[in-house]
Amino acid sequence: MIKNTDQPAAVKNTAVSIAGWPIQQVFRLLEYPFSKIQRGVGIQGMPWIFLLPNLIFFGIFVIIPLFINFAFSFTGGTELFLSNRVYTGTEQYRFLLDCKTFGDPITCREDRFWKGLYNTFIFVFFQVSFLVLFSLITALILNREIRGRGFFRAVFFFPVLLSPVVVALIWKWILLRDGILNAFLVSIGMDKILFFVSPEWAMFWAVFVSIWAHMGFYTLILLAGLQAIQPDLYEAAEMDGTSKERVFWRITLPLLWPNLLVVVVLALIKGVQVFDEVFVLTGGGPGTATQFIVQYIYNTGFTEQVQNFGLASAASIVLGVILFVLTMLQLAVTRARDNG
């Protein structure tokens, strides 16, 4: 038994030394140019040298694109290169936001965008509420004195590491017309359900599968929050003979509240960007029943016959605004948690 616990460490050490050798050689090779540079710029200049590669990457792949995004959204046509594109002012935005009544996607000129937005809203509402609820229950249970706690933590956590494609395929295989779930329904005397033909069922499974895949992550954060609560508080409550329910409402929940808020906002930010699992699971269907805003951007920009980059950019800026608001919220709640 004792030997077993040493094994991972041994494996790790050999792995590190095998992988480490070429890396050491690379570092040795870089030694000479960097000492040359240091002679040139002096020690005060070195932090910038160390920062440079990373900043170049950020610049090329994040900052410049961010500006190009705005430029794109004010142009029309199907050309990819900016110099070939026609300036159209705010036309893309006016097209996107042209609605008779904003509550009903059908009355909008670009109804697919609004359907996507509307679907995303429904998805996020159900996904985030149940995700947080189940993560909380799971974290509370895993925080108890339970046999095999590490095992159970792993049980709930492992889907987090699976790729969205794998997750979607696992569940698609279960939910097919002749899948095991329908076999079960038939065996208890019910009819088969065509889950991917009914819009409601497709949305239900989109939410369900996404919760299944991500619950472990939020459970882990909440569990860390629960374990940070001072045990003497519980001991004192137990001495006083306080009931478990009261302990939960008066000690656990108020002290966990800041973490819970952080989890909610994190889940919102992830939820708004839902794409991968659902795209593989339902393909956005039936019809557009599970098509979300990211898929709208993807379709508009990359899969349609006429690639409308301008419209896709405008839509992604709308998404960016939503995310920006949520991120500000995240900063606020995180700061409140860390200071309180």
């Binding site: 990373n54 792949f61 694109p65 159970f152 049980v155 882990l220 960007q273 593989v280």
Partner: protein, 357 residues
Amino acid sequence: MADPGVETKNLVSIILARRGRKKWHWTDIFSYTYLALGIFLMFGPVLWLGMSSFKTRAGLLEFPPTFFPLGQIELQVEGYEKPLLLFDVKMDDGSTRQLAQIRRIGIVSQMVDPKNPGEKFKIPIDQRTKVREFRMAWENYRDPLERFNFLLFLKNSVVVTVVATLVTLLINSMAAYGLSIYEFRGRNAIMLFVIGTLMIPITVIMVPVYLVVTNLGMVNSLWAVILPGAATPTGVFLLRQYMLTIPKELIEAARMDNASEWTIFSKVVLPLAMPAIAVLAIFSVMWRWNEFLWPLIVLNRTEVYTLQVGLNAFQGELDVQWHYILAMTVVTLIPVALVFAFLQKFITTGIASSGMK
């Protein structure tokens, strides 16, 4: 050393035994029910995937499905070129015999007794049931390797994962070093900048990054997947927080010995920051292995597909070959399962302490 007394206790009392408090509370029952259900819901689907991946194409079409992979027994019968399928047949006199099917014509099948190849029968098909045995269809795993580009996808995924992780580790640790060891004007501004980029997900800048990648001539090459995500703000942040805890005296001492800044970085700081680097390496491997949306956009030719994109393409085909897809899904899942099995502690503490994944 196990307490010998434990073994003599009966199972129920071991299960029911509790630490601390003696009385059962409704939350205890709820907890264990929840956990049992949890195991079923979390493991069940993956187990089902594994089981199904060993079924033959015909086995997968069966409804209701069987749990274990079963294959119908095929027999080589004298006088027939191809192996024949074996059935249990209910004969007219009420007895049951094992017969092999020669051919089926409508609702009647022509059968032969394998022990006595001269004896032939005409049997209505509803009187026969397949004779099956436990059989793993390894061909589901073997065929995609030979017939499809599966090995190529696997290679692409490995290249992307390894190269991207190395690039990420190098430039992120350099940046973190610059931001943690030195004090210089503009440091806070850069830090804000890093945190700012943390908030710009790829979903918001897909179109312009595609333009940049096209401009650099990288579309349909693996670099298009490797480079855009290489400078992770998460990584810079994680490594910097860790490097801040390295005592300044160590670096001062190295400078006294005339060590160059690069030497201090690679010989002093990096070895000390190994735990954080390991966490970032694990994260990066997982991000890259599982990445889907961006590769889907920039990789449009089969030769450059990664596993995830390839799997998605297979499942979108008109004639979905589930027996291959399930097997390939299992293969895609294995590296992650291994990482998880060996490095679970690293991952969970990494997430719990940084709140990132």
